[in-house]
Amino acid sequence: MTIGWILLFALIIACALGVVISRSPIASALSLLVGFVGVAILYLALKAEFVAAVQVLVYAGGILVLYIFGIMLTDNEALRLTRQVHFQAWPVFLLVLVLFLWMGHKLYHSDYAATPPAAKVMVVSGGDQAETAIAALQAQSQVAAGTNTQRLASVMYGNFLYPFEAASVLLMVAALGAVFLAKKEI
């Protein structure tokens, strides 16, 4: 684990902490912006170039700007003077801490990283086909030549065409719903 990874992880976690604990909502939004850029760098380092670009374009460029508009529209002095943290913060902190420790223990002792699921099925079902399955998976990933974006496009518009269309319908319904909710007389 090199120093770069540690710095990147520290940046992302520090920004996430800043989102949760900073007093002013605009500081939270800007902290989240830096955190999303950090996550995009992480995606780049994990060889997901297209998703990194989408992350910066859509999240940092689009969604965060929407949130900052929302903050500008609704910010007032009275909100800034009230307590920013709910009275249930300490019980919630304990609850999340317990969840973190329990699930972290489970994650630390699990073997999720061992083998791909297809090969694992092969291992369970019948012995010596596991090596063949792993070799087939590796061959499959190398046969599909081209850049990350080209391969991603062939998967997204091949196997996932209908979910893709469903996502576009979802976005349209969300936009219509947002317009309806923000209307004057609801």
């Binding site: 992302i12 989102v19 999240y59 949130y67 529209l73 909100l79 009230t82 943290v85 973190f100």
Partner: protein, 99 residues
């Protein structure tokens, strides 16, 4: 890069987002914390996609970003409706359905 570090990073992000949703009072900060939890799911998708040499995880991350965009739109619509009604973005002021 070890998988364990990435999974733990995603889980830390998720826990911070969960804490923000449950403990903050400003509606916008609650929405931003939900975005943190989305980012945690995305980190996990990308990490396992890289581990198993399978692009499905990256496709799902793109869908996840689309869902997050829809959530932001609906959330801001709700925020504006709440602000019209109460002149406040404080989540404790929206208590009509309290018995």
């Amino acid at each position: 890069m070890s998988m364990q570090g990435l999974v733990i990073l995603g889980f830390v992000l998720f826990c911070l987002g969960l804490f923000g949703v449950l403990a903050r009072r400003n509606f916008i900060v609650i929405l931003l914390s939900i975005e943190l939890m989305f980012a945690a799911a995305g980190v996990n998708f990308i990490a396992f996609s890289g581990l198993w040499h399978d692009l499905t995880g990256q496709v799902f991350t793109v869908f996840l970003i689309a869902v997050a965009a829809g959530e932001a739109a609906i959330g801001l619509g709700l925020l504006i409706a709440l602000f019209r009604l109460k002149h406040s973005a404080n989540i404790d002021d929206a208590s009509e359905l309290k018995g």
